[in-house]
Amino acid sequence: MRKLYLTLKHKRANQRRIKRSLKKRIRKQEYLRNKNSSLQGSPHQEKYVKAKTKSSLQLGYELVVAPRNFSFRENPDLVVKFIDKIEKCYEKRKPVFVDMKGVAKISDDAIVVLIAIIVNFIGSKIKFNGNFPSDGEASYKLRTSGFFEILRDNLHGTKHLLNQREKYQFGKSNGIYTNAQKTVNSALGADIIKQASTTVWKTERRCQGLQRTFIELMQNTFDHAAIANEGDKHWWLSVNHMDKQNKVGFAFVDFGVGIFKSLSNKPNGHRFENILTKLKDLFGITKQHEFLEKILTGKMHLTATNEPHRGKGLPGIKDAMDRNSFSNLLVITNKAYGDVANGDYRELNINFEGTFIYWELNDSNRNIDGRP
């Protein structure tokens, strides 16, 4: 019998079995390590960061504490306040340490905002550090969101890519997909819809109203996000697949100057020059959230510009929601907060230097057969 196992055939079989067994052991060890980390809320990175926290603060980092409910949709005032503190450090080129220990809830929209901020810091060579939420679930969500992969990629490549004005994009990971580009990429919108429709309807469908929204938002960033030059700011998109609810949430962020600051800074002769003053005179409104409502309903371009062919983007998005192409549209820009779906517009306490838009696709939304 022993002789049988010494033949070449059996030696090879044994080697294959050993390799398989080793791979299996490594996989199991990795699985247990990750499971332990998530249960204890104490991943390896966190231990490293904990050790670094004290020394970071001693090295002149500004401590910025993240809100307990770190969700742009649910807690806009405190998240904007948090972003504002970080932005101020950015302007002063001061290193930042983000304390997330107290975060009990974190949402995909907040993660994409955080990534956009950190990439700015990395691009400008300003130091950025932080710790993990103590809450196991929040910590797990942050670590499995692709957050660290994106930061790692950017540490090695952002500056080069930003200088080259090329696109850069990140892969899908555990439900949150993040992308940052400067131009309008309609093919990307179509690809995202393919994935999203498969989550919602279990088959590829076309959602033309959703595609319109992607194009309008990218176009808007290109046209308005930078005061000086068109196309000088990036947009960021996070896609959160909620398989169990047959729902997909989209969070779009651009850290331009925001809609109202952009409108107030239009140069002489620009189609939107003095547009806010004209609106004020026409409608007797002064608050940004009131302007936002007028813009979304299309009353702004109809009444206050000399170029009726422009300014149809944001009203086009609201039209798409009204036609049931998607649900739950929310817009935050500068001091304006608009829960468009529920007609709830209000003023924020602090200015958000950028534009944040959230919406959802669910199985009751309008859709047609996939690509013919």
Binding site: N185, Q208, R212, F222, P308, G313
Partner: protein, 115 residues
């Protein structure tokens, strides 16, 4: 009147893009300059009807449609009447796009008249 047929999904792109060429791929400007304008002129010259089918794409941004169709009047100086006479739009998947394009043509014509 003989028909000239044009399908945006089949003859241009199934993912129409932004307004201008420099803003991204498959823009309204590119579509108008490379395809639509030539066919519109041909239709007017030979008294054909140009049938543009909007169906089968991933979806349109408002800027693409405005630049493609409104741009015929605003940029290329084709007259509103000639377009109305020779251009026919099919949009069964998103019927409201026909009204949108009509509005873009009207707006472009009104601005032109004011000048």
């Amino acid at each position: 009147m003989e028909d000239l047929n044009l399908s945006i999904a089949g003859d241009f792109s199934w993912t129409p893009g932004p307004r201008y060429i420099e803003e991204g791929d498959y823009s309204g400007q590119e579509f108008r300059e490379k395809i639509l304008l030539g066919l519109v002129k041909e239709a007017i010259k030979n008294n054909y009807r140009l049938v543009v089918n909007l169906d089968g794409t991933a979806g349109y941004g408002t800027s693409f449609l405005e630049e493609a169709f409104g741009g015929l009047i605003r940029v290329d100086e084709v007259t509103y009447d000639a377009i109305k006479q020779h251009l026919f739009i099919i949009s069964e998947e998103e019927p409201f796009l026909k009204e949108d394009i009509e509005e873009y043509l009207n707006d472009a014509n009104n601005v032109k008249q004011k000048k």
